[in-house]
Symmetry: C2
Subunit: 345 residues, 2 copies
């Protein structure tokens, strides 16, 4: 005999398959005695629920799709938090990373569609992918964006204002007397939340009447090596900026090591700031000034929100929630007046 199905259980317990199904999904509808009897049979004959058949019949899966653009530790924290919330509610996660590849992303989204996932969480969106997401949404699949805000539209999100985050940092640096501030950022990566940090930088400059000097801006996808290379470039400028703001902590750590290897010191010769407040940022030498981002919280609240959307039949509801960032000032930045005079190699 093959595998045990709901039919076998029903026969053995002397009930109908409908009742067995109820035992699993709506136990409050079945008489305690029956419940127990059925459960006993299930246990005895090693019945295993066939979730695929269930999803098929229900024309709706309980799986939740997670689409990630690229993974950083802080993003991983979001996913991890989202995962535990989902698990608590019995939803498995199918996670896909597209790594900036638009075709791959469409492929993954298509897969989600083919599996009729219950909902989709999107971490790191691009212009292209917002369109894709709306398509999913139109097909009745709730989607929610993390890590950014997109107010004014009808996109669901639980995120923070990247423009504001960067603005706060750059504005602070300016208030510390810095006039020429470098910016290292994946400007052209197509990732909205990263681009927005660049916008925050611009905004802070113009708010303080400082000019935007294009050669002080380096495009670099977040990685230690890229941060180091970018900093090296900035340092070799005829008139290098003495203060550099990076769009991620990893980039900033790379920048730190560039300065270190040049035999110079932070924050005596250069001020360096990061973004993310990653675990390690407190422990680098020197510790990094950065912008705290609620990674774990976004994951948790985001998944809760998504589950709400999934639960409510009313597909009309909209969840837009903005979380706060905060400026973390540590040892890698100081006021401009405390910098050493610049001596070139």
């Amino acid at each position: 005999m093959g595998i045990v199905t709901i039919v076998d259980v029903a026969r053995l317990a002397g009930v109908s398959t409908a009742t067995v199904s109820r035992v699993m999904h709506a136990p409050q509808l079945v008489r305690p005695a029956t419940l127990e009897r059925v459960q006993a049979v299930m246990r005895d004959c090693g019945y295993i629920y066939n979730a695929t058949a269930g999803d098929f019949s229900r024309r709706k899966s309980t799986v939740i799709g997670v689409l990630i653009l690229s993974t950083t530790t802080k993003v991983a924290a979001s996913v991890s938090a989202a995962q535990s919330v989902a698990t608590e509610h019995g939803f498995p996660l199918i996670v896909s990373t597209s790594g900036f590849d638009a075709d791959l992303e469409r492929h993954h989204l298509r897969q989600f569609l083919e599996r009729s996932v219950a909902g989709v969480l999107v971490i790191g969106h691009t212009r292209a992918n917002v369109a894709n997401i709306r398509e999913l949404h139109d097909r009745g699949i709730p989607c929610l964006l993390l890590w950014d805000v997109l107010p004014g539209g009808d996109d669901n999100y639980v995120g923070f204002d990247n423009v504001q985050g960067a603005f706060t940092m750059v504005d602070h640096l300016i208030s510390q007397g810095h006039k020429r501030i470098g910016f290292v950022c994946g400007v052209n990566s197509g990732v909205d939340r990263i681009y927005k940090r660049y916008l925050g930088y611009q905004k802070a400059l113009s708010a303080n009447g400082l000019p935007l000097e294009p050669e002080l801006v380096r495009s670099a996808i977040s990685s230690f090596a890229n941060g180091k290379a970018a900093m090296l470039e900035l340092m070799s400028l005829p008139d290098p900026p003495r203060c550099v703001c990076c769009a991620s902590d990893v980039l900033a750590m790379g920048a730190l090591s560039a300065v270190w290897e040049a035999g110079l010191s932070v924050p005596r010769d250069y001020c360096i700031a990061g973004f993310d407040n990653s675990e390690l940022s407190a422990y680098t030498t020197p510790s990094l000034s950065t912008v705290d981002v609620p990674g774990e919280e976004m994951g948790r609240l985001g998944m809760e929100a998504l589950l709400t959307l999934i639960g409510s039949e009313r597909s009309g509801s909209l969840i837009q929630r903005e979380l706060a960032t905060s400026l973390i000032l540590r040892a890698s930045t100081c006021s401009a007046s405390r910098l050493n005079p610049l001596k070139r190699a």
Copy 2:
């Protein structure tokens, strides 16, 4: 009219559903003219394959389960590599993290069973979970262990020898003249690969005729804070070990910062070694001596191996593959003779 099914496509294209199915899964069996006609219809009426129905009918899903004990950056690299291999072959990944919780792990494994996943990749196994995995295996689901070797049994794995990795490091440190070496490690976490690093430490001591001093061993689950705390404890011992080997880079970075904050220096006052060769380990101050672990490679080769197992009907085949680790010597360790004499606060 509801959603477009294979029946609609068949009708519109004037063929049977069987042919449509073949168009999707075995196009070489259908005449080019028919193929094209069917594909045109699919395109025109926006047909979306129902993977759930397919899996159900086939009594086998194409989803691959990934079970992770706990996530580190290096583990994330494995998953990421595994992901792209899987995607290439059209397999989505459903990933679950159990976070050392045995019940949660059983729950996830059960879910995999309920969804009749095509195969399971396990990263970080415990004694308990090896048993669970064998159960899956017995039900015909290919499983493969990553990040460790388990020779002599009939468990599939693509990993490296954790005992050997730690042995090599500790043996090296001993050869540098260190007689009393501290060890920081999640000894009691239940994770085999971590415990094995401890075994490697023991083995190196006894191979060199050194005694195992229990107070030099600190149990700490991998995190920066734990590493720092453990190092603080070791430093406050009446006669502290001047050389400390940590079972992960993160722990080692924590240890580094403990020394730094005590106003002492590595490697003048203490030698610190890590394990993993994480990206950051090359850039800490001082850079970390560590053991390189083929994270990305394990993910890639492991997934390829798993797909092979899934492909071969012969469930008898066994894949056991050991990858090499290597000792990376950087600035955080030196020979015992170069240490400063110990001065206590």
